[in-house]
């Protein structure tokens, strides 16, 4: 724990959390003025070269425009074929190893004794001055305790209770979509549905649900972390607002608990009522970290799979015909969408000791990036990996949820949301036509869409 985090914990009982975040922001601005703050990388887009023109050591897959420019596939194929464990010595995020084959990724993910998830799972470090702590970036045993405190919220038993609510909210969104007229699928469907889901999980004021989306977008998009576009002066105020809103929500749940009320099934109530997390509010960096994890984890991933599924069915129209002929394929298709999209490109680790992997020696302290997006297209593990096949055999055996102790906690919720979406779409629409090209997120981490125009054709009620 660094000095600043310790100071925040000590003062947390006296000073509102959002003031602390504001103070951290002012401190960074002051350091900036006197030239002491770490330099934030700046990313300006220019066309990237064809990968065949590059020397292998010059390939830099941390470039946040690789996804947007549609070149990630060829870049990663070359790494998988020629140097599956690859070292890039001078990226904007410092030196790092890329692990690009399915089996090697599985190895790294399983061996938390060799590879640490601390201090952060993105390629770059966190914005200076705010060392948020979250269990996705903690090693056992601390990780295990914190995860166990909240994982019940997305446990299948809890989801069964929530299924009808999710279906009702999905129907409401779909019933109000324009028909025979182009509109933006990302904003009207993907973002709206995930915002509703998050507000439900967090018991967050429903009419303010789009704030959750905004916070998630800001938190996942700082340039030093993922090569995104958010400025520090936008980042800190957003975090301060998260701190304020959720402190209020937390206090409210505490008051209900103290009044002897039965706890609700939302995340905050669960944490307030759990021995290991009931004092979390006195540890601001952990408090913010766990909230950020749940908000980002439930936002970008499902949202971009909701868009990605529509895009995939447009790229492979025969699969849409197959789906309409046999809607029982939906659950299998959901897994295939999650593989094909791989909404989060990677998770980062740090080697805890020297490790030999596929002929390379990774040194203790080196950053190691497991590129799920590449492993999910590895010809050695997956048959015709670039094709989208809704009745693919073994569709569940993909890397998108990660493996080992950090495996995605919300996987069943994500699958359920996507399954319900497709069940309800098929009941209403005959065609979902993508109009033109979608627009892509700038990031080396989030494989997302900012805009995708579609046109719906209603199903003939014969």
């Amino acid at each position: 724990m660094n000095i600043q985090t310790r100071a925040m914990n000590l003062s947390a009982r006296l000073v509102p959390m959002h003031w602390q975040v504001r103070a951290a922001h002012l401190a960074q601005q002051a350091l900036d003025r006197v030239g002491l703050a770490p330099k934030t990388p700046e990313f300006t887009e220019s066309p990237l070269p064809d990968v065949s023109t590059l020397a292998i050591e010059d390939i830099d897959v941390s470039n946040p425009f690789l996804w947007r420019q549609g070149l990630w596939g060829s870049y990663f194929k070359r790494l998988r074929d020629e140097q599956p464990v690859h070292f890039q010595k001078s990226s904007a995020f410092g030196p790092f190893w890329s692990v690009t084959r399915f089996d090697d990724i599985l190895f790294v993910d399983k061996r938390h004794d060799l590879f640490s998830a601390e201090p952060i799972i993105t390629l770059g470090d966190q914005p200076a001055g705010l060392a948020i702590e979250t269990f996705i970036a903690m090693d056992p045993p601390k990780h295990d305790k914190q995860r166990q405190a909240v994982q019940g919220v997305v446990a299948p038993r809890n989801l069964k209770e929530m299924e009808s609510l999710i279906r009702q909210r999905t129907r409401d969104v779909l019933d109000h979509l324009p028909v025979d007229k182009p509109f933006d699928w990302v904003s009207n469907v993907s973002i709206e549905l995930t915002a509703r889901m998050l507000a439900t999980l967090l018991d967050f004021p429903y009419e303010q649900r789009r704030k959750l989306v905004y916070w998630s977008d800001v938190a996942a998009a700082s340039p030093e972390t993922t090569g995104g576009q958010v400025e520090r002066d936008e980042f800190f105020p957003a975090v301060a607002e998260v701190a304020r809103s959720f402190s209020e929500l937390w206090r409210e749940k505490e008051a209900r608990r103290d009044a002897g009320e039965e706890p609700g099934f939302d995340v905050i109530s669960m944490m307030v009522n759990n021995e290991d997390t009931k004092d979390l509010i006195h540890r601001p960096m952990e408090f913010l970290g766990n909230l950020a994890l749940l908000i980002i984890g439930g936002n970008d991933t499902t949202r971009n799979s909701m868009t990605g599924g529509v895009l995939a069915l447009n790229r492979f129209p025969q699969e849409f015909d197959k789906l309409k002929a046999n809607p029982a394929l939906i659950p299998n298709m959901v897994s295939e969408i999650i593989r094909w999209q791989t909404p989060l490109a990677y998770m980062r680790r740090v080697a805890k000791q020297d490790v030999e992997l596929n002929g390379e020696t990774i040194r203790k302290g080196d950053k190691v990036v497991m590129w799920y997006a590449s492993g999910n297209r590895d010809e050695r593990a997956i048959d015709k990996p670039d094709e989208f096949i809704i009745d693919r055999k073994g569709a569940r055996n993909h890397l998108s949820f990660g493996f080992g102790v950090h495996r995605c906690m919300g996987n069943r919720l994500a699958e359920m949301q996507l399954r319900i979406l497709w069940e309800e779409l098929l009941a209403r629409f005959d065609r979902i036509d993508v109009q033109g090209e979608p627009e892509y997120v700038q990031s080396n981490f989030v494989r997302g869409y900012t805009r995708m125009m579609v046109k719906l054709t209603r199903k003939n009620q014969g």
């Binding site: 599985l106 399983k110 166990q148 994982q151 019940g152 446990a155 038993r157 949820f401 080992g404 102790v405």
Partner: protein, 106 residues
């Protein structure tokens, strides 16, 4: 060769013939027993082949290593005789084995 039985959460029983040198998970997969997802394909890395071994058989299914223990702790459906089916090697000594499937795989 002997037999073993998977019992689904709703009570449906599946009697499966034992084949040596295959894990319990593989037996379920090869015999289309529903309720075993095995997302990681038998690497002890996803926790989706969780079974609850019948108490009488638990001691005979072998030792649990630390990575299996860790994956089992991640499921809210855990029971004292929980195991991951991919980590149970089936031998003739398990002729008659009975395992229960949880309501959900996490």
């Amino acid at each position: 060769m002997g037999y073993m039985t998977f019992i689904e959460h709703d009570g449906t029983r599946h009697k499966v013939e034992i084949e040596a040198d295959k894990s319990l998970m593989q037996h379920a997969a090869d015999n289309m027993v529903p309720g075993i997802d095995a997302d990681c394909g038998g690497e002890c890395a996803c926790g989706t082949c969780h079974v609850i071994v019948d108490e009488a058989w638990y001691a005979k299914t072998g030792k649990i290593n630390s990575s299996e223990q860790q994956m089992l702790e991640m499921t809210p459906e855990g029971a004292p005789t929980s195991r991951l089916a991919c980590q149970i090697e089936i031998t003739d000594a398990l002729d008659g084995l009975v395992v229960h499937l949880p309501e959900f795989q996490m």
